[in-house]
Symmetry: C2
Subunit: 241 residues, 2 copies
DNA sequence: CGAAAGCGAAAAAGCATATCTTTATGCAAG
DNA sequence: CTTGCATAAAGATATGCTTTTTCGCTTTCG
């Protein structure tokens, strides 16, 4: 998605085991043993333990002496961990994940826009309007890939401009959502013209320092996005990765 | 804060080193070496490596051959990791962290309330109104600790009732924020009566399935909360942990 | 004569393995 | 029902080998 190469042997184990767990192939309550993992993945004990440690810090497993490594139920997971989001996004639970993220965006991005209206630097305002222009161009020409790039840039910039570190930290997953949306054909062939207009409104409101207008326009954007996604989702039902 | 004992030697190293990094005592770009950490913390190589792996998965450090372990700049961190939030919450950066979380809440909780209005189970509705009653009782009597407990319960329940896993996952940090607010005396001695009223409105709107009303009332709550916190923050300036 | 390219050595993390320690659990005996 | 012991599994340490990466030196070509 964005930084794929899971560098190192241990990273590869984390990746594979993490996928197995998120996919449900190994379910909550199940108990694994180090030795078993050793030969399942063909690595040494230390590597397994390192992998377990990071899974543990993600809340996906717990490790206890004399009993083994038990995979935890989902409510214990750090669902905001980018890696977990990634796993769920291209595998089982993608729908659920997209829904969750969509609802999150509905709350966060309008607030981010309002904050940006008060805090954005001139450079960020420029980047915003630049991104909108890109979107307009490629939206008209139907070049969805370039449109996506511009769209991602827009939202990333806006989240950064919010001056809120945590919102900025969500830039990556918002990008993943947008990418997932177009790559899984949950988007119309030609982007809604209204969407582009609303993006422009946000950019303008931010530049003008009009927090309310920015918030409202942004709310329009994400409302439309979730609506469109639901519509498309009904038709393009089974569409495996 | 909630699950403190950092079980295991490696966990303790994660905790100590993580604190050092979040506090800025060891700054971004600085490069550590395994051997050095070994005797700094008096543990063996594998333990250090396991700790590094965890920190690495949090985005706080990167490890490269022939160069060492370089601590990453803050924008690379997974700021949603509960452990990082914890470190920042009781240490340097507490103000920044509280501000960020406050702004997040302002976006999320109203949406969560709206969703809850459509999805809450009867049991959850009951828990909500129960929590409100608790709040009313202890708010009047001035028992801030019990009030806090009820408040936390309310918000946790509401986030869960939203039916959105990710929002529910934020229950812990919202609890941490509320706790931090009262324990650091960023709250009036007697809770705002209006706050309790708004909580009641939320509970009622959720029960009635009125998403708009729930959203509005919740917005009132968090707006008041941030306002109050800013006010108190101006007076109670330096108030170390 | 200078710069670029290639080569080699060393430094640091990555990985594997062996061994010992600790703790929790289950069973058996009192 | 309690006590205690045997054992299984993870926790921790120590050590050696491998791999990658950088740096410095040398060589060669412009």
């Amino acid at each position: 998605m964005v930084d794929n190469p899971p560098a190192g042997l241990h990273g590869s184990v984390v990746d594979r085991l993490g996928m197995l767990i998120t996919s449900g192939a190994v379910g909550a309550g199940e108990v694994l043993r180090i030795e078993q993992l050793e030969d399942r993945f063909g690595v040494s004990r230390s590597v397994v333990r390192e992998a377990i440690r990071v899974l543990e810090s993600m809340g996906m497993v717990t490790s206890r002496r004399r009993v083994g490594i038990t995979v935890a139920e989902r409510v214990r997971w750090n669902l905001f961990d980018p890696q977990i989001i990634g796993w769920r996004l291209d595998g089982a639970g993608r729908d659920e994940q997209l829904r969750s993220l969509g609802e999150l965006r509905r709350g966060l991005e309008p607030v981010a826009a309002a904050l940006a209206a008060r805090r954005a630097t001139p450079a960020q305002c420029g980047a915003l309007t630049g991104a909108v222009m890109e979107m307009a161009v490629h939206g008209r020409s139907g070049d969805l890939e370039s449109y996506l790039t511009a769209d991602v840039l827009f939202h990333r910039t806006l989240l950064e401009a919010s001056g809120n570190e945590m919102m900025a930290a969500l830039g990556g997953v918002v990008a993943a959502v947008l990418a997932g949306r177009t790559h899984h054909h949950l988007m119309p062939a030609h982007p809604e013209p209204a969407a582009i207009r609303w993006h422009a409104e946000v950019a303008q409101a931010v530049q003008a320092g009009d927090a309310d207008a920015a918030e409202r326009a942004m709310r329009d954007i994400v409302d439309e996005a979730t609506r469109a996604m639901l519509d498309a989702g009904d038709e393009t039902w089974n569409d495996e990765t």
